[in-house]
């Protein structure tokens, strides 16, 4: 008999948290003005150079926090979707979040060109939720939403909404393209205000998600098993999907559409701590935060003072990972 050795899965969580703290300190020191970790700690705690302290407190700290929070939100959203759809390739995009946000932002700017910059992401996340509503309604068939149907409809809706957005943009003013930069997924310019706009929503959605972890577990079984365990499948599925869409929409409000975070982070977390949401959610969120903070720090530190958008870097890492996943899952079946 094979005796599998098992490291307690819980130990990953504090480890990841520690890693995130360490990365945070490194990231605080990275950018146009470099600081060693010791200098960072010094500037935070002790007597310090004023410019350094301002860079840390006013620019980098909020930026790292927004990145970490939104990375966590995307990852939680992806974890839920991968569970509900029972497909490791699912990500927030399959419920129309990205295209919905993009289209809503464009329409918003066409109708109300003077929308203040901070309000635009709010409109975009409303669009993300609306797109999810559309996907859900279309995927529903005789009172049931089958995961595979949801995934296919999601892809179709995503493509159509995105097409519509491009169509509108062709005729649009170049100031609109200018205002849409945030959609491409970047933590650039994130400040305390932005953090405080995202935080209340996150503070509601994340605890709810964590509270529902056992329901999410049961949902990720086959439909028959979930029902025979006494789960009312459809309402539970709707709540889970709405939660996933909401988490992603709030993340869009903070950093636009950061590609692949919602796909990679939960998948890697599953490899680390297994499929149960009690551990999977915190592990995914920590990994999502790590990913975005790392991408943003790299983006700032590679060729300063030029900034590479974090979304570009996460996509650079994400796309090959996705292909690897496709090949791997392809082989199993």
């Amino acid at each position: 008999m094979i005796k599998a050795t098992h490291r307690p899965k819980h130990s990953s969580i504090p480890l990841l948290a520690l890693l995130l703290c360490g990365l945070g300190i490194l990231a605080l020191g990275t950018g146009a003005v470099r600081m060693s970790p010791a200098e960072v700690v010094q500037a935070l705690l002790g007597p310090h150079d004023e410019t350094q302290a301002r860079i840390l407190y006013e620019l980098r700290l909020p930026r790292i926090l927004v990145g970490a929070l939104c990375g966590a939100l995307f990852a939680a959203s992806g974890a839920i979707l991968q569970g509900v759809v029972r497909n490791p390739l699912a990500s927030p995009d399959i419920v129309g979040v990205a295209a919905g946000a993009g289209l809503a932002a464009v329409v918003n700017l066409m109708l109300l060109p003077n929308t203040p910059a901070w309000l635009l992401p709010v409109g975009a996340s409303a669009g993300a939720l609306a797109a999810f509503g559309l996907v859900y309604v279309l995927a529903r068939q005789s009172g049931e939403v089958l995961p595979i149907r949801l995934a296919l409809i999601g892809v179709a809706v995503e493509a159509s909404l995105d097409g519509l957005r491009r169509l509108i943009l062709v005729r649009a003013d170049d100031s609109i393209a200018q205002a849409l930069i945030f959609l491409s997924g970047t933590v650039y310019g994130a400040d305390w205000e932005r953090l405080f706009r995202v935080l209340p929503f996150a503070a509601v959605l994340i605890p709810i998600t964590l509270l529902l972890h056992r329901r999410l577990d049961v949902l990720s079984f086959g439909d028959e098993t979930a029902k025979s365990l006494g789960m009312r499948l459809e309402p539970a599925r709707l709540v889970a999907l709405a939660l996933a869409a909401g988490l992603a929409a709030v993340a869009v409000m903070g950093v636009g559409i950061l590609g692949f975070v919602g796909l990679i982070a939960p998948h890697a977390a599953r490899l680390l701590v297994g499929p149960r949401f009690g551990l999977l959610l915190p592990a995914s969120m920590l990994l999502g935060a790590l990913l975005v903070v790392a991408a943003d720090a790299l983006g700032r530190g590679l060729i300063p003072p030029i900034e590479i958008p974090a979304g570009l870097l996460t996509t650079l890492v994400g796309a090959p990972y996705f292909l690897y996943l496709m090949r791997k899952t392809g082989r199993v079946r």
């Binding site: 079984f221 098993t225 025979s228």
Partner: protein
């Protein structure tokens, strides 16, 4: 807890699969639903497990229509093992078995000593204790099936429904599963209802057979009574020699030919 159906009509979309069925499943016994592919036996089992809403009539659990009862309450009375159960990848056997306690847990999901005891008991009953930490996908087919049965046991239900629990297993694993079910019935008094393909296994392990053909029950009762030449011809289109199992005395058949269409028609007319 008794399970029965009253004027039960089932179907998918336009197609009716079961029509006006009245059936009582004997309590504390093993019942096997038999019949050719597509006869409606799996559909019937799905309705008994509340997975399928009746078109008309009802499935009754202690006289109450199962679809009007709270879902969690039903989950405490009957457990289902689907034909190809799916679990999230990476789940260990013990984690799986814990989910059997889901219908009993509050929203916060605190685990009680009773929960723990039942999970341990289910692992012991199925001999899965030694595999408790193993991820499901690393187990053989028979072990995996036993793990799922352990989860159903942890659900602490008087009734256990199984959809073709031996399909896809090799012969020794088939026996392993059937003997486990037999023991659970004897020792725990569980009412077991399962869909079985193998007629000899059904005859040997079930107390009660229900033969389904084209959406109707054509015969039910003890294996000796149900497995007649006539039923075999009519339901399965087979001719067989009838022997007795030297050990249990139950019927054992050896099919030797397909019944000709005319013969079956003659019979039914």
């Amino acid at each position: 807890m008794s399970l029965s159906t009253k004027e039960l009509t089932l179907g998918y979309d336009e197609r009716r699969v079961i029509e006006g069925l009245n059936l009582a499943l004997p309590k504390g016994r093993i019942t096997a639903l038999i019949g050719p592919n597509g006869c409606g036996k799996s559909t019937l089992l799905r309705a008994l497990a509340r997975l399928l809403k009746p078109r008309e009539g009802a499935v009754l659990l202690d006289g109450k229509a199962i679809h009007t009862l709270p879902t969690k309450a039903v989950a405490r009375e009957l457990a289902l093992l689907p034909q190809m159960p799916q679990a999230p990848e990476g789940l260990s056997v013990e984690e799986l078995v814990w989910f059997g306690r889901y219908p009993y847990q509050s929203a916060l999901g605190n685990r009680t000593a009773h929960d723990r005891a039942l999970v341990d008991w289910a692992l012991d009953q199925t001999g899965m204790r030694i595999f408790a930490r193993r991820p499901l996908e690393t187990l053989s087919g028979g072990q995996r099936q036993r793990a799922w049965i352990a989860m159903a046991l942890a659900q602490e239900t008087p009734i256990l429904l199984l959809d073709e629990p031996t399909t896809y297993l090799d012969l020794s694993h088939q026996l392993e599963v059937l003997q486990l079910l037999q023991r659970l019935n004897r020792e725990q008094g569980k009412t077991i209802v399962m869909v079985l393909h193998e007629l000899n296994q059904a005859a040997r392990y079930a107390h009660h057979l229900v033969a389904v053909y084209e959406g109707r029950v054509v015969a039910e009762g003890a294996p000796e009574a149900v497995l007649s030449e006539r039923i075999l011809r009519q339901v399965f289109g087979l001719k067989a020699h009838f022997l007795r199992d030297p050990e249990t005395g139950t019927p054992h058949l050896i099919p030797f030919a397909l019944a000709r269409r005319e013969e079956i028609l003659e019979e039914t007319l």
